[in-house]
Symmetry: C2
Subunit: 125 residues, 2 copies
DNA sequence: ACTTGACTTGGAGTAGGGTCCAGGTGTTGA
DNA sequence: TCAACACCTGGACCCTACTCCAAGTCAAGT
């Protein structure tokens, strides 16, 4: 698969795909003899994973480290697990903050509804 | 209250508080005769609100607009409500993405646990 | 063989959201 | 009244995460 095809498939720009590979957020992608990227299923799975993690706000730093550990082989299984656990807890913390904001927004929206209803019940002027 | 006190109270740097006011994310804060910020309860409530919204990832743009509408008075009640509804739905969308990532992380962590357990069950070498 | 269009790299530029600093003013205690 | 310190403003700088560009190469059709 060319970069353009992968770009369409995952909704990430070709620039972003190249950028991700350059910084090590994706392992090196296979190339044709001429040096052109030729994404295989494994590459696509990495892309899908990273897209998912990034869309949830997981830091690029952490993902780069995960890829680096992965590339070092089986001796890093424990470290990778720890890294994921750490990211998981950060994710949960952020979701809790968002939940608090959501409740607050709901509350405010309700109050606005009430205020608007009250205003409309009054004679104008 | 001085900016330092408010900074400590909410865990936002004095620079950030000044920045927020400058860009209109906070309404103008009362000043002493000498021009020094003297935060009152209303200011603090705004700060608390903005801290909450920002920590949930609500865009500064949207919050600035909310403050601007607020300062225009009662005629903007409807617009403010709409703005909050829009932010609420964005928040929910982001939380859904995070939930998906969380499940994926949990899954991966479990697999690592299994892989590590299997490896330890083998004789080394 | 040549055009056309997608692909390559390295590096510069951008947007969002702060953070830091210099040079100056206000405030307080000795 | 003066030292010491907090506060002020405007503007430069920083970080993250892309995004764009120039100059060059590869590939497919004619």
């Amino acid at each position: 698969m060319t970069i353009t095809e992968v770009s369409r498939r995952y909704g990430l720009s070709a620039d972003t795909l190249r950028y991700y590979e350059r910084i090590g957020l994706l392992p090196p992608v296979p190339r044709t003899a001429g040096g052109i990227r030729d994404y295989d299923e494994t590459s696509c799975q990495w892309i899908e994973l990273m897209k998912c993690m990034r869309s949830a706000g997981v830091q690029i730093e952490a993902l780069i480290e995960y890829v680096a550990l992965f590339r070092q082989g089986d001796t890093t299984l424990g470290a990778r697990k720890q890294l994921l656990i750490e990211q998981r807890s950060q994710l949960i913390a952020r979701m809790a903050e968002m939940q608090a904001s959501l409740e607050r927004l709901d509350d405010k929206i309700q109050r606005y509804e009430q205020m608007i209803a009250e205003k409309e019940a009054l004679p104008q002027g």
